[in-house]
């Protein structure tokens, strides 16, 4: 019962390099999200997706791109990494339906990906 899986869990980049974070969920959830967490800032929404093939901007989208080609996967890309993007990134998913103990809108989180940009 994997839930939400993020890869990689740790990564160090140099300024200007590119990379992609992968989020995979096996709960057939319609919605997926990418958040970043920084000290004293809580979690801030970067981008989200309400279904396969759709994406939308969140609170802090600049410098990031996303894609949702398959329902179960949500990719977060950094085309040219900057030190300001050093953060812990969390992926989450949710369903639009109530199922079992989870209500519509309840988020399930991955364990996080720690990214350092030098």
């Amino acid at each position: 019962n994997a839930g939400v899986t993020q890869t990689p869990k740790f990564r160090v980049l140099k300024t200007g390099q590119s990379m992609t974070l992968l989020c995979a969920q096996d709960m057939n959830h319609e919605y997926m999200y990418w958040y970043r967490q920084d000290p004293g800032m809580g979690l801030r929404l970067i981008h989200y997706s309400v279904g396969e093939g759709t994406t939308a901007k969140g609170e802090v989208p600049d410098g990031y791109n996303v894609s949702r080609l398959k329902k179960q996967n949500f990719l977060l890309g950094l085309e040219s990494a900057a030190p300001s993007q050093t953060s812990v990134y969390f992926c989450a998913s949710s369903s639009t339906r109530t199922s079992g103990g989870a209500r519509s809108g309840e988020l399930f989180f991955g364990e996080g990906s720690r990214l350092t940009v030098l």
Binding site: Y33, G40, G42, Y48, R103, G105, L107, F109, G110, E111
Partner: protein
Amino acid sequence: AQSVTQPDIHITVSEGASLELRCNYSYGATPYLFWYVQSPGQGLQLLLKYFSGDTLVQGIKGFEAEFKRSQSSFNLRKPSVHWSDAAEYFCAVAEAGTALIFGKGTTLSVSS
């Protein structure tokens, strides 16, 4: 715009004492409300949630929260704090079909 405010950045409580963490939100409709806990280096764990109905919600680890519409608040409480409760706590708010908006968190320290 939607917002969530956790007024206390850091709280220290003696072990065995009671705890209340404050959360206020700004929202048009009745939102979905959540409290999450995060231990150092870990992901987020859902403590409890409110969608509708009884305004006093019971969660895991002995936590409860009360939704007060008149005060736009969803404060988290625990009658007796244990040292293992030391962590960061996040209040979050959403409307159906929208993304969760998080507060900036409250760090709880437990003294012996």
